[in-house]
Structures are given as structure tokens and as C-alpha cells.
Amino acid sequence: MEMDPLEVFKVEMPGEDYGAEKYREIIMDILQDLGLIRSIGRLYVYVDIKTPYFAVYGMIRGKQPPLTVGDVGDLLEAEGGYQITVDDEEHMSNLIRVLWGTYGRENVEQPDRNVLVVLSDESPKDLVVADLETEFKRDLMDALVRIAPEGFRNRRNEMGKDSFFFLAAEETIKPELLSEAKEKLGGMRDA
């Protein structure tokens, strides 16, 4: 599904207009800090402070394919193996770990800071270096826990393929509360 980053961002807190406005800022600040804004397409937040609970429904924007060796560096066939030249060192440690795991330490050499040589006939081109999807979901969970008011210690989250639902409450989360929150968020989506 094609979406702009945060093309829809609604915050509803009945009776707490100031809180709604402020929480918009807090959510923006935290998503920005963790670099998640571009990955979220739509975001709906509903808070009932009398019950109280804090519910979020969001849609994830586009899928991020796993990062392979071919994506993070230039692959050259060299004598007796393959040479990988890495420009961006962000994934270097992951890359080395994956190569060690696949070919064994003795078959991976690092003649230069950004150059790796694999002594093998098999091309490492399609090896997965980083699973961005999992990393993103971990960051997203971290963000949601940071955003929700701290006293709301009972949490529940449902991570889907392209959407997520998060509920935090002070009291035990009962099925009725869960369905109420979902209904409210559903109403916001249809509006």
C-alpha cells in the first residue's frame, strides 16, 4: 500500500484537549528520536483517562526487505574467493558475524578496514546481513512503551504484517477493555 509518512495522525482524548495536543508533540519527538517517522503511514491514538487506558493503532508503511551482502557492499570475484568492499560501516559487525558463521573464521580475511575477503567458491551475495523488519519492530515497541504514560504498566500489543495495535492500562487488561479500545480506534479510522 502506498502511503506518505504519517499521512494520517489522529489523537483523541475526550475531555483532555491540552493532553491530546501535548501527546501529539511527545509522539512526534519520540518517533523522531528513534527514526521511525518514515516507516509509519497512519497513526491513531485514543486515550480514556477515566478508565484509564492508552491505545494506539498504526499502519506500517511499505515492507523493508532483508538486507543482503550485495546490498551493503560491492562484491568482486577475486582469486580463490570473493572480495567485499563496504562503503557504509553501519552493518560491518553484522556482516563479519554472518560471514564467520557461514564460512568459518579461518576463511574470512580483512586486509583493510573496509575490505573483506572470503576464501570460498560460493558467492556470499544473497546472505542476509540484517533483518530490518525485526529491528524496526523492536524499535517500534520501544517507542510505544516510552510514549505511553508511565503508570500504565499493563500492556498488550498485537504486531501484524502491516499494522500494529498497542494497549496500555493501569488495571488488568480484560477482554471488554480490549474490545472497547479496538472499537474506539476502529471508529477513528472510519471517521
Partner: protein
């Protein structure tokens, strides 16, 4: 009448300032050296201010009024988690510090949430050792009203800060309410945010004035800075204390940062020029903060004299 002032300038020749203060009969409360800069917090006799101003000019320093000097203010957050710290609690604490107060940050053990928030006896007693307290609450009207029981049993003036605008009648136990602070996830840098911090300082000033007015109805037997001077002279071990501020002043006493068990007798026995000992004019108690010594000066109505 002593004026609280803050001197900021170079380390070079700053001892001229401290000597002058001594000669004028003022008190040096705190000395902070940061590389080649120095910050001195002092109490100076009002009529001698021009002399100090002249010296400050000569040394190319800066002299500012520090209305909160000589007081201790607690900044209380519901917990010490990322939700409440570092913004805005640190901003508030730092801002109070810049106006001369000694600010202590206190994170409550169980201060979170609307229904389950609570404060225990130890926390209450610890906060009561300060001259005033600032509670930093969040953005929900309902929660700020609900959390009143946290500070209801405090005896010091309570300044409540939060996000929304609220009526004074809604918070009968608060000395004052300062809006537009609340929970934020960035540093205070906009003019409006800094303005709110100024409001907190102003509210703290009013709260302290109310305490001063209360004390003046039954004056203390002696002033806390005078006790500080005598303790510094007669209990020299205080100079070995590693705290940045070995003796913290309150409006009605002081906190001496030495272990209570070892030193409380020495502190009780310090003698004033008039012949009385500190034990006769003040209560020397164990502080709730670490194992420090807390001194509470008795009012004139209990001792019958003023030194």
C-alpha cells in the same frame, strides 16, 4: 538585611571578593570552580552592595541577584524513568539552581499512575527537610487533581507544575500551580517554555517569602549563615567533605554533610561568642538524606533570647 547575590567571573583574583565579603560581615555560601571560571554565592549587607559592585566591575565579573540563595528546593518527579527525565525535571532543577537555590531531585518510588500513586512516610519526611518543593506532573487535568494526596501531608509550600491551565480552587493544597510545563520529550528552548521556567522561579520566590514571613513572626534564635560560619571554624573536618556544598542552608536551619554518629556531638558543642552552644539553641537531628546532620534552629519563643 543581607542581599543574596551571585558572582560569576574568572578564578584570577577572586579571593579579593571572598576577602571583601568577610570584611563586610557577609557570608560566602557556595564556591564553584569550573576550570578558569568561578561562581560564588554570597549574602552581602545591603548597604555595602556598591563596594562589591565596584570590585566586580574592576575584576570584569558579573554580579546578579540570586533571590533563591540560601534555600533548598526539592524537585519531585513521579519516578526516575525516561518518561519524566531528563526533560523537563532537569530543566526545572537547573533553572532553580541558576537563581541560587540548592535544588535536589527526588524520584518517588511509587509516584506513577492515576489510581495507584502513593508516597511513603520516608519520602514525605525527606521532602519536609526542604524549604519548598516543586512537583512535576503531566498533561492530564484529571491526573493532576487525583494526585493531590501525594503532597497533602507535606508541611512545606508545594508548587505544582503541569501542562493544562487549571483553576487555583482545583488544587487547594498547592501553594501555587504553574501551567505549560507538563510532560515533554525535548529540552526547553522555546521562549514560551523558558517563560514557564521563569514562572516556576517566581512562584518559588513567593513560596519562600511566605515561609520567611511565617518565621519573622517568631524569629529564630540565630541565623543559619551564622551557624554555618561557626561550624566551619569549630568543626574543621567539614572542609574534608566531598560534597559540592558541605553545608546546605535552609531558611530555618542547615544540613551538615558529615556522618551523624561521628560528628553530632561536635556539632552540638560548637560555641558562639556569646557563650551559648549550638545544642542550647537548636535541635541537632539525623537527616533523612544519607547519614547527614540536620540542624533546626529554635525560635525565640523557645529559647527566650537572640544571639
Amino acid at each position: 538585611m543581607l542581599d543574596p547575590v551571585m558572582f560569576t567571573g574568572g578564578v584570577y583574583k577572586h579571593d579579593l571578593v571572598t576577602e571583601l565579603i568577610e570584611d563586610l560581615g557577609g557570608y560566602l555560601l557556595q564556591k564553584n570552580v569550573t576550570q578558569s571560571e568561578i561562581i560564588l554565592l554570597m549574602l552581602v549587607p545591603h548597604e555595602d552592595m556598591p563596594v562589591l559592585e565596584a570590585l566586580t566591575k574592576e575584576l570584569r565579573g558579573k554580579l546578579e541577584r540570586a533571590p533563591l540563595a540560601g534555600t533548598e528546593i526539592a524537585v519531585v518527579t513521579p519516578t526516575l524513568a525516561i518518561h519524566h527525565l531528563p526533560h523537563p525535571a532537569c530543566d526545572v532543577a537547573e533553572y532553580l539552581r541558576r537563581h541560587g537555590a540548592k535544588s535536589n531531585m527526588i524520584g518517588m518510588g511509587r509516584g506513577v499512575a492515576r489510581e495507584i500513586a502513593q508516597m511513603d512516610e520516608y519520602e514525605t519526611a525527606l521532602i519536609n527537610e526542604h524549604d519548598a518543593v516543586v512537583f512535576t506532573f503531566g498533561n492530564f487535568v484529571d491526573c493532576i487533581i487525583k494526585k493531590e494526596h501525594l503532597y497533602r501531608s507535606l508541611t512545606v509550600p508545594v508548587i505544582v507544575t503541569g501542562g493544562p491551565e487549571m483553576k487555583k480552587e482545583d488544587l487547594p493544597y498547592a501553594f501555587e500551580y504553574v501551567p505549560n510545563v507538563g510532560r515533554i520529550a525535548h529540552r526547553s528552548r522555546k521562549a514560551t517554555e523558558i517563560g514557564s521556567l521563569d514562572n516556576i522561579v517566581a512562584a518559588a520566590g513567593r513560596a519562600l517569602d511566605s515561609v520567611r514571613a511565617q518565621i519573622s513572626k517568631d524569629p529564630l534564635t540565630t541565623t543559619p549563615p551564622r551557624v554555618m560560619e561557626v561550624v566551619r571554624e569549630q568543626v574543621p573536618d567539614i572542609m574534608q567533605s566531598h560534597s559540592p556544598l558541605p553545608i546546605a542552608l535552609n531558611l530555618n536551619g542547615l544540613r551538615i554533610k558529615l556522618p551523624y554518629d561521628e560528628y553530632h556531638e561536635a556539632v552540638t558543642g560548637v560555641k558562639f561568642d556569646e557563650g551559648v552552644t549550638l545544642g542550647e539553641i537548636a535541635k541537632v537531628l539525623p537527616s533523612r538524606m544519607k547519614n547527614y546532620i540536620l540542624v533546626r534552629i529554635l525560635p525565640m519563643s523557645e529559647t527566650g533570647f537572640v544571639v
